[in-house]
Amino acid sequence: MKTFSRLSVPYLVWLFMMVLAPMLLIAFYAITDSGNGIINFTFTLKHFAKFFTDRDFLLILWRSLVIAVKTTVICTVIGYPVAYFIAGSSDKVRNALILAITIPMWINMLVRTYAWIGILSDGGPLQRLLEMLGFGSPELMYTEGAVLLGMVYNFIPFMILQINTSLCKMDKSLIEASADLGADKLQTFLRVVFPLSLPGVVSGISLVFLPAVSSFFIPKLLGGGQFFLIGNVIENQFITVGEWNFGSAISMIMAAVMMCSMYLVRRLDLKTEGKVSKARTLPGGRLAS
């Protein structure tokens, strides 16, 4: 049996070289001065200082967070009822609908985002539709709205699928139990179904929020040069400017902000989960579990 354990040795080496070492390198570059090699170097925190003392960078970070929150809220508000509808359909319809949602996900993300350019551009169908409805002819391309639309389009399938999974996994007898105990439909939804689907909502949020914060091709394609997000700053530092040290520091700051926000979201989930399990131990809830 132990002979097989040797099979993992190449991958352990690979993991160290291709996964762990790059992460360590980012941290290393973030705290060393540019122009140094990995043999002789000087530690410095000036990259972090540069970021936090520059109003523009802080503003961009703030803007990235705001648009990611907006994307997440829209995806949750629209995605939840859609997932609820799918979960309530018959097996056959449900499978077909899930397939219909996953097919576009197979198409290259860049291609899907690019596809919106035609619809959003000046004189395009959406602008003409808005004109007909009496909204004038607003600029659509290269606005915050376009970026938001692109993000929702790219990330909402994750939210729908996550919520749908958690709704389908739910024990249906809990809903019956709640009805037997005299709760009406709305009460059952608010006190039983919704709290139990929260884990799905939370993992949906992380699958939408995290890529939305760090996204850089959606703002570039649909926002033009006008709409700069933190991902674009990192791209700029690495590809155009060549300031790898500063770029590494920014990406560490971004990763830290992401971790903090996900920590907050998870705590929200734990709180409600505590309530649910508490409800289960109450005399009335014991029936259900």
């Binding site: 099979l7 993992s8 291709m18 992460m23 198409i107 290259n108 291609v111 596809a115 169908p125 399938p157």
Partner: protein, 269 residues
């Protein structure tokens, strides 16, 4: 009341489907436009397809995408499967640590993985190009293979390999003809995930490539700065290819099932 709710749900669902497919359909229609405009349809023509096939850069990017995806899928599937088997027999500490690190590329924002790999190649003076792109793809595909193979191995009887070897099989034979066939569904779905991840990737490829090596995503990214309906044409081609692959993937199990049924019927008869 309930019926009303379903109507609201149906409307929302319908709107969602339109939202998902409208841009894709729109793009396909305009790939046949004879004019250069992305908003006015002037008439049917195949000129953008002709342009696309004559554009070396575009064809090259399609070729790069497919070659990288095929090699990365093959390597990461073999590496992932073998390593997952190895890890499942390793000491618990090693396995847990390895699985933690294995999660990094999955949990990290893509851009962080991307710049990490870029820094790695820069630091060790590896010239960026096709090879670095391939290595990076293997690096982010393998974790997914391991994640999809691992549960299958866990559900296996741990004595299976021992039994095979007691019966005289060499370790390699026990691996290839006893263990691997049992975990094949996991291996297959891992390979599928790897292939799609590789085809779909933009961020990581963009940071680790060099010397003008471009995959499809990078090509769209760099070309979309100007109006260029050939992108619609190549995107349509991609949509077509993916639809074909999806049909094949969905049809093969059905055919297999039918064959199996037939065979069983024969045996019964």
């Amino acid at each position: 009341m309930k019926k009303e709710k379903r109507i609201f749900g149906k409307l929302l669902m319908g709107a969602m489907i339109v939202f998902f497919y409208l841009p894709i359909v729109f793009m396909i229609i305009f790939s046949f436009n004879s004019g250069k405009s992305l908003t006015h349809f002037d008439g049917f023509s195949l000129r953008w397809y002709e342009r696309m096939f004559n554009n070396r850069e575009m064809m090259q990017s399609l070729y790069t995408t497919i070659v990288v995806a095929v090699i990365a899928t093959a390597v990461s599937t073999v590496l992932g499967t073998v390593s997952a088997i190895g890890l499942s027999k390793s000491r618990r500490v090693i396995r847990d640590v390895a699985m933690q690190i294995n999660d990094f590329p999955i949990m990290n924002p893509e851009i962080v993985t991307a710049i990490g790999l870029m820094l790695l190649f820069i630091t060790f003076h590896i010239e960026k190009g096709f090879m670095t792109m391939l290595l990076a793809h293997i690096a982010f595909c393998t974790p997914y293979v391991i994640l999809s193979v691992m549960p299958k191995i866990r559900s296996l009887d741990p004595n299976l390999a021992d039994a095979a070897m007691d019966l005289g099989a060499t370790p390699i034979k026990a691996l290839t003809s006893v263990i691997v066939p049992q975990i094949m569904p996991g291996v297959f779905s891992g390979a599928l995930i790897a292939f799609t991840m590789s085809c779909d990737d933009f961020v990581i490829s963009y940071f680790v490539t060099g010397r003008g090596v471009k995959n499809l995503s990078i090509m769209v990214y760099t070309m979309s700065k100007r109006v260029n309906p050939s992108i619609n044409a190549i995107s349509t081609l991609v949509v077509l290819l993916i639809t074909l692959v999806l049909i094949i993937i969905n049809v093969i199990p059905v055919i297999k099932e039918k064959r199996e049924k037939k065979r069983n019927e024969k045996i019964v008869a």
